[in-house]
């Protein structure tokens, strides 16, 4: 399973090259009929499940439906790039949660790719120390549960940083503390400077320890998988290619850049898509360390309204959408690096 997302229509292989009346085309018609029946049965089963569920919910006096999305949310969200306050409706809160998920997933993917590629190449290095270190990195990060790593990053950050009441001033207007990294930010037509008060830092913008822990945790964890993908991709290129490149007078670096990588990418890109999808989905673990991602917001909404079905459905729909979007982008890129003409 190398490609995520895309669905392709079933292709009746038996009908190829046959006339319309041949027995084999009749087999094909029967095959299509079967598929149609199966689809119908599936739709009927889902419809039954939905109606059964709704009937039961009604019977037990449980309110259902998505109407709550337009009611005021009533809770605050700790950090966001979009403006939000508790009097705004639930759907707005969901959008803010989604923005927070994207805000951690996109830089996470970039970081994981850079770090993973470097480590993957280091695993193939002739330098013994580099090879050993990168192998150790991959084995360690890959084999410890991500949730544990996230908690470790988070508690390390919050323990090590100085208390918010005596924040470390790195530069004028830049403070580092348990509240995160605060810096001046363009706000309402003017630069707003963070100010240290007796209890905490206020004003300006800040990168919170929650965000940092999720970002670092996801990036370093996924980098281990990316490294393995890159290593496998490079090793899939036959060594004869490298020898040929070197004998043509290319430097090792040039041979990597112009000969090995273009061929390796064909192997790397499809499984890299999976890593990117995983990173995005894994960001849902952020809820454990207080980062207000989509799942965190949906959890809160679920509890304020009791609409478990609806909130879970929103989470599923959004992650599905994100995943399909990611795979669509990656499939386009894959088409560019794939072999032309061949199958």
């Amino acid at each position: 399973m190398s490609e995520g997302g895309g669905m392709s229509a079933p292709r009746p292989t038996s009908a190829s090259g046959e006339g319309p009346t041949s027995p084999r085309s009749r087999v094909a018609i029967v095959a299509w009929l079967f598929q149609a029946l199966l689809l119908l049965a599936l739709v009927a089963a889902i419809a039954w499940m939905v109606s059964n569920t709704l009937a039961h919910l009604r019977e037990r006096g449980i309110h259902a439906g998505f109407d709550f999305l337009w009611q005021p949310a009533g809770f605050e969200i700790g950090e966001s790039w979009l403006s939000y306050e508790s009097s705004q409706p639930f759907w707005r809160a969901f959008v803010v949660g989604l923005a927070n998920t994207v805000r951690v997933a996109v830089p996470g993917i970039v970081l994981a790719t850079l770090l993973g590629t470097l480590i993957g190449l280091a695993r193939l290095s002739h330098n013994l120390l580099l090879r050993a270190l990168s192998t150790a990195y991959v084995e360690l990060l890959r084999n410890v549960p991500l949730l544990v790593q996230l908690l470790m990053w988070y508690f390390a950050l919050t323990e090590l940083l100085p208390a918010s009441s005596d924040a470390l001033q790195l530069a004028p207007g830049v403070f580092l503390s348990k509240s995160g990294l605060s810096f001046p930010w363009w706000e309402a037509g003017a630069f707003e400077w963070p100010v240290a008060s007796e209890i905490t830092i206020s004003g300006g913008a800040s990168v919170t320890p929650e965000f940092l822990a999720v970002l670092l945790g996801l990036a370093t964890y996924t980098a281990a998988f990316v490294a393995e993908t890159v290593r496998a991709g490079v090793q899939s290129v036959s060594s004869g290619q490298v020898h040929a490149a070197l004998s043509m007078g290319l430097t090792p670096r040039q041979s990597l850049r112009y000969i090995v990588m273009p061929q390796a990418l064909r192997v790397i890109v499809p499984s890299m898509t999976n890593q990117y999808l995983n990173l995005t989905k894994n960001s849902s673990l952020a809820v454990a360390i207080g980062y207000p991602d989509l799942v965190s917001v949906a959890n809160t909404a679920l509890n304020q309204t009791g609409r478990a079905f609806e909130c879970i459905a929103v989470i599923m729909a959004v992650y599905l959408l994100l995943s399909l979007l990611t795979s669509a982008l990656m499939n386009r890129y894959n088409a560019r690096v794939a072999l032309r003409g061949g199958g």
């Binding site: 037990r60 207080g290 478990a308």
Partner: protein, 341 residues
């Protein structure tokens, strides 16, 4: 490895596939099964928390023990199901638990739209703030621009937003899914304040803080949090049983019945009220689908309401909470039970 709460998924699945209506059958199911499935917290000191042997104790746990004693004749026949804040409602809706005794606040939304009945209030609480002493904060109004740690899935999250919006003060909430993670972050210094019900704050301060004296609970309360057990709608018999077992414990305190003297009172008391409670004159149990000793067994198993309070959350317990609003109505509190008659 997308983490999906298994119990929530199971509960939702139960709706999808459930066989029709089981209204009115809870008591029969419990008697047949031989245990009560009691939904509790994953560990809130004084309310429901397991010890090292896995025995649950606390005010909520004792409600379940009393019910088991009244219904099944053995206080130990309780199957405690620990539920986090997110799972709890789905677990009750789907029938995974028979009742939810999980320091849950009685609100309109929960009572009217989730298919539940709140039975009665067993603890009158209010939301407050725990702050480090060294910040010298004496009122929540001084928390301007501060960060407040809170657990998600609670009424606390919404109260804190409402309160500070009304006061026109900006604070930042840091919301954690797990109770553990939320207070650990607070004690690590991530937030300037932690907020939950005062009973919870007392438990945190006295049990989890390295040095309890470094922290203070602010005297201001920002909300009413009436806590009590709830049951599914559609089974009025079971609803009545839960209510009346709790009422009997309150009546017991009012009439001086204790775990220690209940046997002697049952044998000798000439007081008609006591005789009625203990089933020596009238058989009130028949009306509830129970036998006549139901209240006697509940009192014998866990003591009266006052004893339960003292043992789990009172001044001599680890929480050291004053009786306050949770005293009997006759002693200036709010605890009041309709008569067992």
């Amino acid at each position: 490895m997308s983490r999906f709460p298994f119990r929530l998924a199971a509960a939702l699945l139960a709706f999808v596939l459930a066989a029709p209506a089981f209204a009115g059958k809870t008591l029969d199911t419990i008697k047949q099964r031989g245990t009560i499935n009691c939904g509790v917290s994953t560990g809130v000191a004084g309310f429901s928390a397991p010890d090292s042997q896995g025995n649950w104790s606390g005010l909520d746990a004792d409600t379940c023990h009393a019910l088991a004693a009244a219904v099944l004749g053995d206080a130990k026949k309780v199957n405690f199901v620990p539920l986090n804040a997110q799972q709890r409602f789905a677990a009750l809706q789907s029938g995974e638990v028979d009742l939810l005794a999980r320091n849950t606040t009685w609100t309109l939304t929960r009572d009217a739209s989730l298919g539940f009945h709140f039975t009665t209030v067993t603890y009158y609480d209010g939301q407050g703030f725990l702050v480090p002493k060294k910040l010298k904060i004496t009122s929540p109004k001084q928390l301007k621009n501060a960060e407040v740690c809170v657990q998600s899935g609670t009424t606390n999250e919404k109260n804190v937003a409402d309160y500070f919006r009304a006061q026109n003060i900006k604070v930042k909430t840091v919301v954690f899914e797990g109770f553990e993670a939320s207070f650990k972050a607070f004690f690590a210094g991530r937030c300037q304040a932690y907020t939950t019900d005062v009973s919870g704050l007392a438990g945190l301060r006295n049990k989890e803080a390295k040095n309890p004296d470094d922290y203070v609970i602010l005297p201001d309360l920002i909300s009413k949090e009436p806590l009590g057990p709830l049951v599914r709608r559609g089974d009025d018999e079971w609803f009545a049983d839960v209510k009346w077992v709790i009422y009997a414990l309150i009546e017991a305190e009012e009439n001086g019945l204790t775990q220690a003297n209940v046997d002697e009172q049952k044998a000798n008391s000439k007081d008609p009220v006591v005789q009625r409670i203990l089933g020596t004159s009238e058989d009130t149990g028949k009306l509830l689908g129970l036998d006549k000793d139901w209240a006697y067994r509940a009192i014998k198993a866990v003591g009266n309401y006052g004893e339960i309070f003292e043992r789990n959350v009172g001044p001599k317990s680890v929480l050291k909470l004053p009786r306050g609003a949770n005293n009997l109505w006759s002693k200036g509190g709010l605890i009041y039970a309709p008569p067992v008659r």
